[in-house]
């Protein structure tokens, strides 16, 4: 039935999905001398990777994820020299504050535990917090300060990986939507909706919120839900807030985070998520969510009281029930790898994920523990 088509391209590895995961994987595979095809439905870094908040934050993560996050943080630090482009990474520090006594204990415990993973956090009491960071509101009882975390420009990071990969010899195909992934003999055959085909002995699915559509074709669907975190940005203001700020709380409505960029704008997000429609590639900001963010933003930084918001946006992100990504080898098909479903915190991990996946695919193993992220955890029976 299907007319036999000659594959248009062939390589050691095919990566489906040009978000930060796929683009960074392609880049690091080239660093290891592997030939790579990177396939992206739209443009590289246009989905979650291009519209996220830009937090390069380790603290607060699931502890067993810290080795990966640490590895990623190290790469962020030398991204410019690696890529030859500036993704505006600024290690300005990151503070999580809390409003409740019981939450102080939670932050303290986390700081203690994180130390064993090599992440040093400084607990700062109420008065010291106000002295060192006078913009933080009076309700903050304590803060956990991570001096080496920071933020970067999501609009630039993934595309920079994509371009650097291409400069180093990766074959990058944008506007290429993959419909079918299958294994035929030793090779994976990957077919685009327009009929073009690609072939390689190894396949990495890094298709973000769409990853499960492709993993399903190998009998490995995941129980994900899809949402859109709610973002916004203010007009430019004098540059005063260097660290990224976030609220640690068990009350969803209280969660806000914000960062100021040196040009002056304050970018923020948090609270209830909005609707996202992966099939339409659309996500929306609900006006009520923006309205709910306003008092929380002013609670965190009272000086924002009269500032203007000039734009809001959202993006499409997949969440797994345990809030951990799907990462590592397939549990069924040799040569098949996954890195998707990053549950709202994949931007920081991106460079590390690329490095780890390249290592895993190239060397057959990685020094960074991935067991908690295996797709096997969702296999029935």
């Amino acid at each position: 039935m299907n007319p036999i088509k000659t594959p248009t391209a062939q390589a050691d590895v095919i990566v489906v999905g040009g978000g930060i995961m796929g683009a960074a994987s392609a880049f690091f595979l080239r660093q290891r001398g592997r030939s790579v095809i990177l396939l992206e439905r739209g443009l590289v870094g246009q989905q979650a990777s291009g519209v996220n908040f830009g937090n390069v934050r380790r603290q607060g993560r699931f502890l067993p994820q810290l080795p990966l996050a640490n590895r990623s943080r190290a790469i962020w630090g030398r991204l410019n020299e690696l890529l030859g482009e500036d993704a505006e990474f600024l290690p300005t520090g990151h503070i999580r504050i809390c409003y409740r006594d019981e939450q102080v204990g939670v932050l303290e415990q986390y700081a203690k535990d994180a130390r064993t993973y090599g992440l040093d956090l400084e607990m700062i009491g109420r008065n010291a917090l106000r002295e060192r960071f006078p913009f933080i509101g009076p309700e903050a009882l304590a803060g956990s300060y991570s001096p080496t975390d920071g933020h970067a420009n999501p609009r630039l990071a993934a595309p920079a990986f994509g371009r650097a990969a291409a400069r180093n010899g990766a074959q990058v195909f944008e506007n290429t939507e993959i419909a079918v992934v299958e294994k035929t003999g030793e090779d994976f055959l990957v077919s685009a909706t327009d009929g073009r085909q690609f072939r390689a002995p190894a396949l990495l699915i890094a298709a973000g919120a769409w990853g499960t559509h492709l993993s399903s074709q190998f009998g490995e669907p995941v129980p994900q839900s899809v949402h859109g975190p709610q973002m916004g940005v203010t007009e430019p203001l004098p540059y005063r807030i260097q660290p990224v700020l976030g609220v640690s709380t068990t009350v969803t409505e209280e969660v806000v985070y914000l960062r100021q960029i040196p040009r002056g704008n304050v970018i923020f997000g948090g609270g209830n998520r909005g609707p996202a429609y992966p099939d339409l590639r659309r996500s929306y900001v609900l006006p009520t969510n923006t309205m709910n963010q306003l008092p929380q933003l002013k609670r965190l930084v009272p000086a924002l009281a009269n500032v203007n918001i000039i734009r809001v946006w959202s993006g499409i992100e997949a969440y797994l029930p345990d809030d951990r990504p799907v990462m590592g080898p397939s549990s069924r098909v040799p040569g098949l790898y996954y890195a998707f479903g990053f549950c709202g915190h994949g931007f920081q991990l991106g460079p590390g994920v690329g490095d780890v996946m390249a290592e895993l695919i190239d060397a057959g193993a990685t020094s960074t523990p991935l067991d908690p992220f295996s797709i096997a955890r969702f296999l029935q029976g």
Partner: protein, 468 residues
């Protein structure tokens, strides 16, 4: 159907005529208007304590202005008029407004967006200097405030408004340094057949030019803008242009009124998820509408300058037509004859509109020629060179991609003033048709939204359709 909830956004000619039709049918529409007074752009009202008579304010259009104001005054008891209220967002079936810092969500069955237009701008080196204003701004200064934007004002751009505002300045006693039109005169002759769709309007236009010339004001066509000269701290000191004969000259002035006809305000249509299509004649993306103003989204209607730049008479007709369409869709009886007559009016106006576009074309080629150091995005002070760099070196061949990389269109104005020129610069830089560059997607809020805003207490109590 009697209890249908209909919202009209805008109280210009289109919005007023739409509200009038709805009120006539026994509905009590909510009319949302960002300004405090009705009248819209052309029939903008001056503050109460001003005393210039309508003839002085509106010239030949005084009778129409007074009629529209009277019509709205007469409607006030039958519509729920909400001035000083911005429609900042729209989600399916709900309009989101803010009024003096209080937000409200208003559900609707039909939404008629009559949001008007803003000036269409082509950057020129130095247009970010203080003392450069949009042409519309120059007119508003005079009409609503009785001031001139400078001591000596040069008018640069193209379109009928250029001549109109210059002559209004001259008549009001301002010093006009000249009218400098980028369109060559020959195109006006070529467009004559279409312009003859509205002979009276054409005659008024010709009279204006004659009047300017009689007053000794230089009127030049076919010019190429070179630079608005001046310094960052002092602002504008002159206008440098290449005249038809190819000479580069500097015209001394401390203010420049700059405008290349108009572009519709389409943010609400965009947020309402209406389809857009590229209009090759005017080289801009316009929301798709049928002959009566129905958008691609059921229940959302677009009329007036916000949909097509038909001028004030056209806006009145289109507003009425959209309201009739909404009524019909809501199940009211509407006579065919009424709709047919308005459709004929609109079709004639549209023919004239296309004539204007032909006679006063958007100077797309100027975008290609802008020096790299020209600021394109005034909000963020991003240059043409930067936009070209992201298009060429970073592969940003689409408008939103270029915005993501360069910040052109990311500022406070949300790309209103740089979006169209930005697309032309990208298209020229990579040698592709401008339509393939696309358009900047609208994002809420329609205008900046203060963190001090709070939801109106008892949102639920919003009573629909209660006369004010």
């Amino acid at each position: 159907m009697a209890g249908s909830r209909v919202i009209v956004v805008g109280a210009g000619p289109a919005g007023v005529r739409a509200a009038e039709i709805l009120a006539e049918a026994g509905l009590a529409p909510i009319v949302i208007n960002e300004g405090s007074r009705d009248g819209g752009q052309i029939y903008r009202r001056q503050p109460d304590n001003f005393s210039r008579p309508p003839s002085k304010l509106y010239g030949t259009e005084a009778a129409k202005a007074t009629a529209l104001h009277a019509a709205f005054d007469g409607l006030r008891r039958r519509v729920d008029y909400r001035p000083d209220t911005l429609a900042w967002n729209v989600t399916p079936g709900v309009l989101h407004t803010v009024h003096h810092g209080q937000t409200q969500d208003i559900p609707f069955d039909a939404l008629i967006v009559c949001s008007g237009a803003t000036d269409r701008l082509m950057p020129v080196k130095g247009w970010n200097l203080s003392g450069t204003y949009s042409l519309g701004a120059a007119q508003i200064a005079l009409k609503a405030q009785a001031v001139s934007i400078g001591r000596r004002v040069a008018f640069l751009g193209t379109g009928p408004l250029l001549y109109l505002v210059a002559s209004q300045y001259q008549a009001a006693g301002a010093e006009v340094a000249g009218v400098f039109d980028t369109s060559p005169f020959a195109l006006r002759v070529k467009a004559l057949p279409k312009l003859l769709a509205r002979p009276a309007v054409l005659a008024k236009g010709l009279a204006l030019v004659a009047k300017l010339k009689r007053a000794g004001i230089p009127v030049e066509t076919g010019v190429t803008p070179v630079e608005i000269a001046g310094t960052p701290d002092a602002g504008v000191s002159g206008l440098v242009l290449r005249d038809r004969a190819g000479r580069v000259r500097e015209i001394a002035c401390d203010a420049v009124a700059l405008g290349y006809h108009l572009r519709p305000e389409t943010q609400l249509a965009d947020l309402a998820r209406c389809d857009f299509a590229f209009d090759a004649e005017s080289r801009q993306w316009l929301p798709t509408i049928d002959a009566d103003g129905r958008s691609s989204v059921p229940g959302v209607y677009l009329a007036g300058d916000g949909a097509r730049i038909l001028g004030a008479d056209g806006a009145e007709a289109a507003g009425a037509l959209a309201a009739l369409a909404a009524l019909r869709d809501l199940g009211h009886d509407v006579a065919d004859g009424r709709i047919d007559a308005l459709r004929r009016d609109c079709a004639r106006m549209d023919r004239f509109r296309r004539g204007l576009v032909e006679a006063f074309p958007w100077p797309a080629a100027n975008a290609a020629a802008l020096p790299d150091e020209t600021v394109v995005c005034r909000c963020e002070a991003i240059t043409a060179g930067e936009l070209r760099r992201v298009a060429r070196a970073m592969g940003a061949t689409e408008a939103n991609r270029a915005k993501a990389f360069s910040r052109v269109g990311m500022g406070r104005c949300q790309g209103r003033y740089c979006g169209q020129a930005g697309a032309e610069i990208i298209a020229a830089a990579i040698d592709t048709p401008v339509e393939s560059v696309g358009r900047l997607r609208g994002q809420a809020p329609v205008k900046p939204f203060s963190l001090s805003a709070t939801p109106l207490a008892d949102q639920k109590g919003t009573e629909q359709g209660t006369p004010a």
